[in-house]
């Protein structure tokens, strides 16, 4: 666990020696009843939609549309999931497979290219480095909408419309990945180690592979998690280029469910459950690292 934390826990200096003073300082950070109420309310609001998803996904459609609304899960979850999987308009199994393929490929590529470029920007000397870094930063501010039309035309020319390369290739490496790896490499890779390797005659590639990669592993794990989550949830661009419902990503499958079956809420909710489950598993396994990554990114920027 500790090896994947991006930042060492803040070591707080012990409070002043006098017991009275220390007591006072400690009391500053105790939680008031109001704090607890706020937190519990926040947690309830934050978790309720997940619970609601299970409730509706496990009910018959009639029960889902009853008054007052149902508040307890029913016994139809398996049946509803089966109906989603069989739904010929949504093709959710294809969608899941495609989403795994696309998100997985982008994740691997982002970690690899991000660590290469991050290492170069943090530790190597080359002309124009700062200008190039500035371009990368600027690229992060550009919304995809700006170029959506020519990008669409380009995909049509490449004959990539309705295929997975159209939603994979443009996103193989983004500014965020490079930036995150650069920030981490700066402090995690000791210059002496690189110098020593150079003296030994190591090529830059060998330094990357044998010195930099092991040191960047914790940040690479977090970058991989964040990238996978982000890509799994992509909607806008797939919506533009994947118009053919027979070859969707999972989010586009959900869209088809919504278009085709307005009233069938239990089926739609079973679909959302299926689409969320992979990231739920990721979150249960690596939630601490994900949170660490988000908080770390905040301090850096």
């Amino acid at each position: 666990m500790t090896s994947t934390m991006l930042r060492p826990p803040v070591v707080r200096p012990p409070a002043a020696g006098r017991p009275g003073l220390r007591h006072r300082a400690e009391r500053l950070w105790t939680a008031s009843p109001l704090t607890w109420i706020g937190l519990v309310l926040g947690v309830l609001l934050s978790l309720f939609p997940f619970y609601w998803m299970i409730v509706i996904a496990s009910r018959t459609n009639d029960a889902a549309n009853s008054w007052p609304p149902p508040f307890l899960p029913g016994g139809k979850l398996g049946e509803n999931i089966q109906r989603v999987l069989d739904n010929g308009d949504a093709n959710i199994l294809t969608g899941l497979a495609n989403s795994f393929l696309v998100s997985g490929t982008i994740t691997v590529a982002t970690v690899f290219f991000g660590s290469l470029a991050g290492f170069a920007f943090a530790k190597l000397r080359f002309r124009g480095k700062n200008a190039l870094l500035l371009i990368i930063l600027a690229s992060m501010m550009i919304p995809i909408q700006l170029g959506v039309l020519p990008l669409y035309i380009l995909m049509a020319k490449l004959e990539w419309l309705n295929t997975m390369p159209s939603v994979t290739v443009p996103f193989l490496i983004g500014g965020f990945g490079i930036f995150m790896m650069r920030q981490y490499a700066e402090q995690a890779v000791p210059n002496e180690l690189i110098e020593a390797a150079r003296v030994d005659g190591c090529s830059t590639w060998r330094i990357y592979w044998h010195v930099v990669v092991p040191a960047l592993r914790p940040a690479a794990a977090v970058l991989g998690l964040l990238t996978f989550m982000e890509q799994w949830n992509q909607f806008f661009w797939p919506f533009v280029v994947l118009a053919d419902p027979t070859n969707p990503t999972v989010q586009i499958s959900l869209r088809s469910l919504n278009t085709a079956y307005f009233a069938d809420n239990s089926q739609i909710f079973a679909g959302t459950l299926i689409a969320t489950l992979p990231l739920f598993v990721v979150f249960v396994l690596f939630g601490r690292q994900i949170i660490g990554g988000i908080m770390e990114g905040a301090v850096k920027s």
């Binding site: 090896s3 008031s32 290469l116 700006l146 170029g147 039309l149 689409a275 969320t276």
Partner: protein
């Protein structure tokens, strides 16, 4: 840091000296020089290749296309100068409707979102049991996609059997048709955005709060400053860069709002954002122009104006946030 150093020195390798001897710089000095010169560029090359093809080229093409009347329906393309922009800015009520909706929902979602996130972060920053549980629970909405959020909340806001109307009914308020009424639909969509992003922003604020020196609070407490006072006089000014950061992120995201309003209605024709475009956003309008009306040149103009709006609002936010916190 300590955890890093334990994983760092893999170069201690028994066979190293032998291999190193074979590759000693004096062996192929030109190769080493080439390596030092060229390899850094090779390492950063993948990004720039992709960015040139899928980033820069489309943007330049957008600028060009916006000056033409290109359409898949037209056999020829003619240059029309700034006509598209003139029409967009002076004679297109639907575009301005979309701008109004987008900004309305942006303000309606961002202000409460950041305020609630600040309060939650402040609570999380106290000494509480089960810290990790609270953080995880509050951050959990980030695993959902915007499509999932939109579908779940669409049902909460259903007219007939929705939970929101049921709650209103409990306190004796008549049911609301969340899709028909403009401001009701804005509210509904804003809650979708907020539900997903409050926890994320709270974590960012929490991280920044933890890096504020505790001595400041202790000194303020000694001077008799209340917690409330400490929050406004220490926490908020110290968080200034973080608040600017979240504002800019929210601006970029908020002005691109798309999935939530799209999925708020079911069926085809969702791009029109309600029967009278009550919640059609700029991005929805862009796709409407591009894929339903096939006015590609005009769509290029919409895309450029959207980008300029995002850039200028981000800049204004930046100035405002700097101003406000330095006044304190």
């Amino acid at each position: 840091m300590s955890s890093l150093e334990t994983t760092a020195p893999p170069s201690v390798d028994p066979s190293r000296s032998r291999r190193a001897a074979r590759r000693t710089p004096s062996g192929f000095p030109w190769l080493t020089r080439l390596d030092l010169r060229v390899t850094p560029y090779l390492f950063v090359l993948p990004f720039f290749v992709l960015f040139a093809i899928f980033g820069v080229y489309p943007i330049i093409y957008t600028v060009w296309i916006a000056l033409t009347d290109r359409s898949p329906l037209n056999a020829t393309i003619s240059f029309v100068g700034l006509d598209n922009f003139v029409e967009l800015l002076t004679n297109d009520p639907q575009f301005w409707n979309a701008v109004w909706n987008t900004f309305g929902m942006f303000v309606m979602s961002t202000v409460p979102q950041l305020l609630i996130a600040l309060m939650l972060a402040n609570a999380l920053n106290r000494r509480i049991r089960g810290q990790m549980f609270f953080r995880l629970a509050i951050a959990m909405p980030i695993i959902t996609s915007t499509a999932v959020v939109a579908l779940i909340f669409s049902m909460l806001y259903a007219r007939e059997f929705g939970l929101a109307n049921w709650l209103l009914d409990l306190v004796g308020i008549d049911p609301i048709d969340w899709r028909a009424n403009r401001y009701a639909s804005w509210f509904a969509i804003s809650t979708m955005v907020d539900w997903r992003w409050v926890g994320y922003n709270a974590l960012i604020y929490l991280a920044a709060m933890q890096s504020i020196s505790r001595d400041m609070y202790e000194a303020a407490a000694l001077d008799g400053a209340s917690r409330h006072r400490q929050f406004w006089s220490i926490t908020i000014p110290q968080l200034r860069p973080t608040i600017i950061f979240t504002l800019i992120i929210s601006t970029i995201g908020g002005l691109q709002l798309f999935t939530e309003p799209l999925m708020f209605t079911s069926g085809s024709g969702a791009l029109s954002g309600g029967s009278e475009g009550q919640f059609q956003t700029i991005t929805m309008y862009l796709l409407d122009v591009m894929n339903a009306r096939f006015r590609w040149g005009y769509a290029g103009a919409v895309a450029l104006v959207l980008f300029l709006l995002i850039a200028s609002v981000s800049f204004v936010n930046y100035l405002l946030a700097r101003r406000i916190s330095s006044d304190k």
